[in-house]
């Protein structure tokens, strides 16, 4: 669930307010983002991706308000981590999109499972 807007980072661009699929965020006094309907948040993290200032923090738990403060968010070391790993904006050169490897990764898992099953079968053979 969205937990905090880090107020001194927010530049009031309004991007998160526009893109939130559940219409959770609104413009508060001075144009900065505020969490207007927290209970509607679907924990999709996408507001973070569109925030150029890394001013938003989503906590992974979906069912309850955890009450994370700005300080606690920063202490996780992962504020802005989603945008960085996604290679958006200034991170484009250092964090390229490696999503295309998914097919090969699934294939590795499949082969490992076959291997494991073979090993198990051989071991069964020995013990019986």
């Amino acid at each position: 669930m969205i937990e905090v807007v880090i107020d001194d980072r927010c530049g009031g661009c309004g991007a998160c307010v526009d893109v939130c699929p559940s219409d959770v965020l609104a413009r508060g006094p001075g144009g900065k983002a505020v969490i207007a309907r927290q209970a509607d948040c679907q924990t999709c993290y996408l507001c973070e991706l569109y925030c150029p200032e890394d001013a938003l923090f989503v906590w992974p738990e979906t069912d309850r308000v955890a009450g994370v403060t700005a300080q606690q968010a920063l202490a996780t070391g992962d504020v802005g981590g989603f945008r960085r790993d996604s290679g958006w904006d200034e991170h484009a050169a250092t964090h390229t999109n490696q999503h295309w490897r998914m097919g090969a990764i699934f294939e590795r898992a499949r082969l490992m499972a076959i291997d494991a099953a073979d090993t198990a079968r051989t071991e069964d053979g020995r013990t019986s």
């Binding site: 699929p21 219409d23 924990t43 992974p60 992962d78 981590g81 999503h99 998914m102 590795r108």
Partner: protein, 531 residues
């Protein structure tokens, strides 16, 4: 809902409801036919829906391998697929994805070959939005549709809804409508699915469309307990443990969920991802940046420690059922109304097994384009009847049949979440259990139909609750009638395939739900013999 001076009103040729993968392709295809297009999404076209939070890998098969791919899929469809439709989506996927290159930065592999098969969700949907705008579509974000409009002959002629900003009603008159509202996740907390409450299924049924395959609604995905992170890739490497930390004998593979569900019915379930090779761990944040967030934030070393997991129900998302399409351009049984993506039944291309992992996204991309073309052609063929009064046909959740009164909508949604989510209710099905679920859902439906309504966001919530309950009722009724186990549909009291049921099952009806099997084709009967 009579129009007043405050009600925004627009006219267009094609109205697309839902702006996920299918809806954006529908808008593009309709605009290419020269139609004026409006696309309205409940959320924001570009972030809402399950495409945006996932990373769809498509059914991407080179021409020389397609025949074999179709034959294999047809065999696995357990008699419910259609090879012609499979071939059609393979062809269209192959020619469509490269068109996105202006908006999506496709990667190249070590040999410099462009990789088109899989696209990362947030970038994919950002690209699709740009592509739709470039094609000339008008996009209305945070504009959920609540009901369809028809002309005096019952032909679908637009929709009405509410604009969330300002909470003002809107109406759009259109020559044809495409429903691309996604699947129904039955209020489970599936990643990206919060706005996918089955609204399109209910709107379509009110206009006279029917559904198909609604018994196939029990695909489940493991995820870290308490989160919604239903990305499945890493779990392909998982080892599973019970509370005492004894490893469970669960073979890896596509069908782990029933095994996990049995374990979960006994107690807590844990997972270790320690088999994931080092090189994959290193690249994981750049493959699936969302998957690693819960671990990074909650301080869990996912590759070293065990962590608790549960299963999330995916409803018709990586399940199968939805509105039945009646022709090659995806028109439903309601004239002027087209369906695409997860809002439509995917049995034609997946049969009785999930289309997640490849077929679903190819279906969304293809059915979207066909529906857009079909809607544009339908709109062209209609004589404009300016000034004609349109009928607002929405019922349950919008226009209570008796005194409008406070309905506990959250309780109704909780009934759906439980009946369509609980493992012993929805994975391991029995006739008695399905009947009991059906009765609870019927009660919820009667209450909503009689009393629920509201204003602004409240009206949207009432309508969503109605749609969730309606979709759950079609699902339970269909599952009850399919007295056998086929594909993902598993009846504890009827194991194995029944050759007499090797056909698709339709459902329709609001106050009274009706289901009917299609005539069985000879071809399916013989397939059955070899299955």
């Amino acid at each position: 809902m009579s129009a007043d001076f405050d009600t925004p009103h627009w006219d267009t040729d094609v109205l697309v409801i839902g702006g996920g993968l299918a809806g954006t392709w529908a808008a593009i295809a309709a605009a290419r036919e020269g139609a004026r297009v409006i696309l309205a999404d409940k959320g924001y076209c570009g972030t809402s829906g399950v495409t945006a939070t996932a990373g769809p890998g498509h059914w991407w098969v080179a021409p020389e391998h397609r025949e074999a791919a179709v034959a294999d899929r047809q065999k696995r469809s357990l008699g419910l697929g259609d090879p012609d439709w499979m071939a059609r989506i393979l062809d269209l996927t192959w020619t469509s994805l490269p068109q996105l290159a202006r908006h999506y930065a496709f990667s190249t592999d070590e040999q410099g070959r462009v990789q088109y098969r899989g696209l990362r969700g947030p970038e994919y949907m950002r690209a699709m939005r740009a592509f739709a705008l470039e094609a000339g579509a008008t996009i209305l974000d945070h504009h959920p549709a609540l009901e369809l409009l028809t002309d005096a002959d019952g032909v679908v002629t637009g929709a009405a809804g509410v604009a969330l900003r300002g909470e003002r009603p809107w109406t759009i008159r259109a020559g044809a409508v495409v429903l691309a509202t996604g699947g129904c996740a039955f209020a489970s907390r599936l990643l990206g699915a919060a706005t996918n409450t089955g609204d399109g299924l209910l709107m379509g049924a009110e206009a006279g469309a029917d559904l198909s395959g609604m018994e196939f609604t029990n695909y489940y995905t493991p995820m870290q307990a308490g989160t919604n992170m239903a990305r499945s890739m890493s779990f392909a490497f998982a080892r599973w443990f019970d509370e005492a930390d004894d490893e469970l004998d669960i073979p890896a593979g596509p069908d782990v969920s029933p095994h996990l569900a049995r374990a979960l019915l006994k107690g807590r379930l844990y997972c270790r991802l320690d088999r994931i090779p080092q090189d994959i761990r290193e690249v994981m944040p750049q493959v699936q940046p969302n998957f690693v967030r819960p671990f990074a934030r909650m301080g869990v070393d996912a590759y070293a420690e065990r962590f608790e997991v549960t299963l999330v129900s995916e409803g018709t998302v990586r399940g199968i059922g939805g509105l039945r399409v009646t022709d090659t351009l995806c028109q439903t049984a309601a004239p002027g109304l087209f369906a695409a993506g997860d809002a439509a039944s995917r049995e034609l291309v997946t049969g009785a097994i999930s289309g997640g992992g490849a077929v679903n996204s190819s279906w969304a991309l293809s059915s979207g384009q066909w529906a857009g073309q079909g809607a544009a052609a339908f709109a062209r063929g209609r004589a404009a009847k300016a000034g004609e009064r349109l009928r607002h046909i929405g019922q349950a959740g919008l226009r209570p049949t008796s005194r409008s009164a406070g309905v506990d909508l959250l309780a109704a949604v909780q009934v759906v979440r439980h009946e369509m989510g609980a493992y012993d209710r929805n994975i391991f099905r029995t006739g008695a259990g399905l009947e009991a679920s059906g009765e609870r859902l019927d009660d919820a439906w009667r209450e909503i139909a009689a009393h629920a309504g509201g204003w602004g966001r409240g009206l949207l919530r009432a309508r969503e609750a109605a749609a969730l309950v309606a979709a759950a009722r079609w699902s339970k009724a269909s599952a009850l009638q399919r007295r056998e186990s086929r594909g993902m549909h598993r009846r504890e009291d009827a194991s194995g395939l029944d050759p007499r049921l090797a056909s698709r099952q339709r459902s329709h009806g609001l106050d009274r739900v009706v289901t009917r099997f299609e005539a069985i084709s000879l071809e399916n009967a013989s397939l059955e013999a070899v299955a």
